[in-house]
């Protein structure tokens, strides 16, 4: 993975980070974009934004990531940011069962507010706290398969799988978009590896034909949204 100049990229992807408050969304983001972790990171109010450029199969991809507030009271403003996102990382805390139980609710939110074809990855964070684990890997993996979500476990604290999570979701999307979908459903040989379920149903044509971007919006975005912009 290499970074190039900020403005040189082939594709632009909008990704949202969602999940209960305190599961570690902001730390996953700062680990990915700045390689930083902060035990005392502040609560997210509304949304926060960051970008990172990565290389994937010879293409330069710029990810625009929107980190949202997990507390229920902010749902109204955060859900407005789902639109136009091509991927979502739905994060729970492996040491807190209720954050996993709430994943259902978050999927419902996505169904209501996000584009139909959004690619979702379930992310179990805080694997460094192995002795406090409350959500079994198998349980989460089973849930992901049933709901056709990609799945990975991470630790923002010790960096395990953080870059992988972002890169893999971008890859999944990118492969779908480039019509290079290889259905490697059986490729779930360990926690460290992403286990991709069946491709999400109803991938619309714009996902299959990503357009070379000039400005900060895709052709599809332009046709969907009146105003140009990066969100």
């Amino acid at each position: 993975m290499t970074s190039r100049g900020e403005d040189e990229y082939d594709y632009l992807f909008k990704v949202v980070l969602i999940g209960d408050s305190g599961v570690g969304k902001s730390n996953l983001l700062s680990r990915f974009t700045k390689n930083e972790f902060n035990l005392e990171s502040k609560t997210t109010i509304g949304v926060e934004f960051a970008t990172k450029t990565i290389e994937c199969e010879d293409k330069v991809i710029k990810a625009q990531i929107w980190d949202t507030a997990g507390q229920e009271r902010y749902r109204a403003i955060t859900s407005a940011y789902y639109r136009g996102a091509v991927a979502a990382l739905l994060v729970y805390d492996i040491t807190k069962m209720n954050t996993f139980t709430n994943v259902e609710k978050w999927l419902q939110e996505l169904k209501t507010y996000a584009d139909d074809n959004i690619v979702v990855m379930l992310v179990g964070n805080k694997t460094d706290l192995a002795n406090l684990r409350a959500v079994k890997v198998e349980e989460a993996k089973g849930f992901a398969e049933k709901n056709e979500l990609a799945f990975i476990e991470t630790s923002a604290l010790d960096s395990t799988n953080v870059v992988e999570a972002f890169e893999q979701i971008i890859q999944i999307y990118h492969q779908m978009g480039s019509e290079h979908i290889r259905q490697n459903d059986d490729d779930d040989d360990g926690d460290d590896k992403i286990t991709k379920g069946k491709p999400v149903e109803g991938i619309s044509s714009h996902l299959r034909n990503p357009v070379k971007l000039t400005q900060a919006s895709t052709e599809a975005d332009k046709s969907k949204e009146k105003k140009k912009g990066c969100c």
Binding site: T43, I45, G46, F49, Q64, R73, I77, A216, K227
Partner: protein, 406 residues
């Protein structure tokens, strides 16, 4: 700059009319006059400080005069003055000195009783875990509030002093009691930062008192260059338990009173926040139509990005010492916070107008700028200018809007 603007727009904030009699001025004056020739403190600031002392020494404190005097700012070297002024202006302390003591102790007891009913055994040194705090007989509302508060208290740190177990357990109790008493909104993220700001003010006051005592300084000695708001982690351990309880109770009541006019900010859909943002947008539109149109065209109407400014009363955009200077004015405002805050937000946004417009082709930069303002590099003068500019906007548009209505 401040003086000039205030000179031009003196309609609203009239200087205190009462002519000060020299012999009534309390002791600090001598120290002020002999203190080192500091360039950061003008003579007018010294005068304001003296007037504040004088007003506070009256048996029946004139809140109106106190308000207009406090509006000019309170020196950072004397946290005791700020603490009393805020408590008075927030309606926690009674202006009648005769009843003040008894009413304070009644309020403190009321808080401590309520807090004890939830935390009968919680020592200040205890770790705040769910197992320590959550019991089976709690309602779902209580359990959910607790869970959120525990996660957030860990992440609330306006300064080093907040890493101590004592501060954390104080803050946990304050937030929980508040949540319990305000089920209409419940605990909402952001309130933790507001509570922490009050706590910071009162901790600084007590630590300053302790330091003065140990250094043998009189409470009236004052060195305008001293900054009493630079708290260290170990400082908090110096405070005795009874004082800690008082600070906790005082923080609670100030938070309670401060939020009274802001209730709607934290209820479902946060209508209060949206109103303040809408007002901010109106002001920016009047003052700098081009900026507003630029933001609208780029689909970046301020509402998306100044949300945190309003929700947290600017506590995330400035460090705690800068914030204190801003809140001095916000609290001294005659009308409630919701009328003045939009002017501060508008002034802040307007400060970056040129910069924002220069990002025409790079809308991402606009977001990155607004969500992480370069205010860390600001000095005290910059804050004063910002507040002067907010006041200028208020004079321009509030009076005009009154005229329009008529």
């Amino acid at each position: 700059m401040l003086e000039r603007i205030k000179g031009v727009f003196s309609k609203k904030k009239k200087p205190v009319e009462k002519k000060l009699e020299e012999d009534k001025i309390p002791e600090p004056e001598d120290d002020l006059n002999t203190s080192s020739t500091s360039q950061t403190f003008s003579n007018s600031e010294k005068r304001h400080y003296q007037k504040l002392c004088l007003l506070l020494s009256e048996p029946m404190i004139d809140l109106k005069k106190l308000r207009s005097e406090a509006w000019y700012g309170i020196p950072m070297c004397y946290p005791q003055i700020r603490s009393i002024v805020w408590k008075l202006l927030l309606g926690y302390y009674s202006p009648n000195q005769e009843f003040q003591e008894s009413s304070i102790s009644r309020k403190r007891e009321e808080y401590i009783d309520c807090s004890r009913s939830y935390f009968p055994n919680l020592a200040y040194s205890e770790d705040l875990t769910e197992t320590n705090l959550i019991s089976e007989d709690m309602s779902i509302y209580e359990v959910d509030s607790f869970k959120q508060i525990i996660i957030d208290v860990k992440r609330t740190h306006p300064g080093e002093a907040f890493s101590s177990k004592i501060s954390k357990s104080m803050l946990t109790r304050i937030l929980f009691v508040w949540a319990f008493k305000h089920p209409a909104s419940g605990y909402v993220q952001g309130i933790n930062d507001l509570a922490a700001t009050f706590m910071y003010i009162f901790l600084a006051e007590e630590i300053d008192r302790i330091n003065r005592e140990s250094e043998g300084r009189k409470s009236v000695d004052i060195d305008l260059e001293h900054n009493a708001y630079d708290l260290k982690l170990e400082d908090v351990d110096l405070i005795e338990e009874e004082k800690i309880q008082h600070i906790e109770a005082d923080t609670y009541w100030c938070l309670e009173n401060f939020l009274e006019t802001l209730q709607e900010n934290y209820t479902e859909h946060q209508p209060g926040v949206h109103k303040i943002i809408a007002r901010t947008e109106q002001i920016v539109m009047k003052k700098d139509k081009e900026l507003m149109e630029f933001l609208e065209a780029a689909d970046y109407v301020p509402s998306k990005f100044v949300y945190r400014w309003v929700n947290n009363i600017l506590s995330r955009e400035f460090n705690v010492q800068q914030l204190i200077m801003i809140w001095d004015k916000i609290i001294a405002e005659e009308e409630d916070i919701t009328t003045y805050l939009p002017y501060v937000c508008a002034a802040l946004l307007l400060k970056f107008s040129d910069c924002i417009k220069s990002y025409a082709e790079r809308p991402e930069e606009v977001i990155l700028l607004i969500q992480d303002l370069p205010t860390r590099e600001w000095g005290n003068e910059d804050i004063k200018v910002l507040m002067a500019e907010s006041y200028q906007l208020q004079c321009l548009y509030e009076f005009n809007s009154h005229l329009e209505e008529k």
